[in-house]
Symmetry: C2
Amino acid sequence: MKIALIQKRYASSKKRTVKKTVKDISIAAKAGAKLIVLQELHQNEYFCQSEDVKFFDYASSWEKDIVFWGEVAQENAIVLVTSLFERRAAGLYHNTAVVFETDGTVAGKYRKMHIPDDPGFYEKFYFSPGDLGFEPIETSVGKLGVLICWDQWYPEAARLMTLRGAEILIYPTAIGWFDEDSKKEKKRQLDAWITIQRSHAIANGIPVLSCNRVGFEKDSSGVLDGIRFWGNSFVCDAQGEMIAHAGKKETILYATLDRKRTKEVRDIWPFLRDRRIESYQDLLKRYCD
Amino acid sequence: MKIALIQKRYASSKKRTVKKTVKDISIAAKAGAKLIVLQELHQNEYFCQSEDVKFFDYASSWEKDIVFWGEVAQENAIVLVTSLFERRAAGLYHNTAVVFETDGTVAGKYRKMHIPDDPGFYEKFYFSPGDLGFEPIETSVGKLGVLICWDQWYPEAARLMTLRGAEILIYPTAIGWFDEDSKKEKKRQLDAWITIQRSHAIANGIPVLSCNRVGFEKDSSGVLDGIRFWGNSFVCDAQGEMIAHAGKKETILYATLDRKRTKEVRDIWPFLRDRRIESYQDLLKRYCD
């Protein structure tokens, strides 16, 4: 199965950004991609760089956004993984991935479970932690274990999706560097980000798709300079082998997934067989003190 | 703190192998190593390549082995992580890491929890799964999260050791290639092995020490050709950065661990803060079907 990740920069307005993204989806679909993944919060700039109530307005289009992206999926006859700002009630918002079927219907949604809060990434201000659990989304191209950004650092999330039958792990994400960090620190961060996600493929015998944004986005509050999103979207197979890897430019990244590979890899390295589930209780604790 | 991993080949008898290992320990201790780690089942050949009751005799020296390695630790005034074949009762054996204090006393032991069983690695025949849980061992050089080989593929094991306060993860291991595998497959396997262990460092903000054996060992049963142990022992820091990495030859691999680094890394990337423990219950299931 051919898939595509669309790695883009924010094009200074929602309208322009969405237009460019839709064009890329059309190109990817024509090139044969059956599953297309967009980056985290792909309609807007990464507004979580500062805490400002004005940005909640971005979620006011939630219902319309769903109609819009459903039509895009239908027009291109693809399964589409989007990442939207969900308005659930006044003062209650989520960072939500909505997956659309080839006929434009909603196949399912995932509300980001692990919410970061670090300088420049003030997501706990904007998003209530997800309450839909780690549930793969059944689609015509397979059961998709959709997770979002910060989730990628948690082996628990990847494992739970796998135990529930996910066939592919998918991470829309928005991560980058601060320009003031040293070259070495930047390398370490990017390397850690790739390594942890490849490790989920390895631990679970499942392919991983990670779609990140690119470009520099200023911190509108002026507290920090801004974030230089590092791109590097990638696809690795069920053994963690890189099969496609983007650079730091806007890209449509294609890969072909081999469904048989997951079975082969899991039969050679049957890690799920030997888990010591009777000794894992403390995983449900914050810390053992 | 300076540490050393001793990566060795089996020297055709226990006597010769132990003699060479003791010599290396002495060299490493003189070079200033305070913590020395040996590879998995370092006294003997990797006998699990075939299933033969004769090999249970190797465990008959269990009590003597403990006395012996305790003396080695004391003579060199180091904390020593050994990997021994434990005879617990007739017909009941474990793959057990014994950690010795600088005065030669036993600081603690860890019985391998995840037991593999694959062609050439018939460990389920020899070893009963550990029943001491994932408990770090308190020593004068810190709380050591000692795990063994197959455990390295399980994020659960690394996480549990971390939640229980481990300051370093340590993996004595014995893993290698079959000569008949392609060059590409060998690369994928080695790469996956390094990646998954570095990921434990990253997910948990904790340094990882992995000590593997080298050299070719024939399958004495003649069913398979044998295993070419791939060495590549390594040390990575709390962010997963490689700070020492051996090749495929016998080596004493030195590294210096910086205790402050763990705190720094965990404060920058506070993954433990955001775990969704109320949604992790299914980690205690074999599979969710």
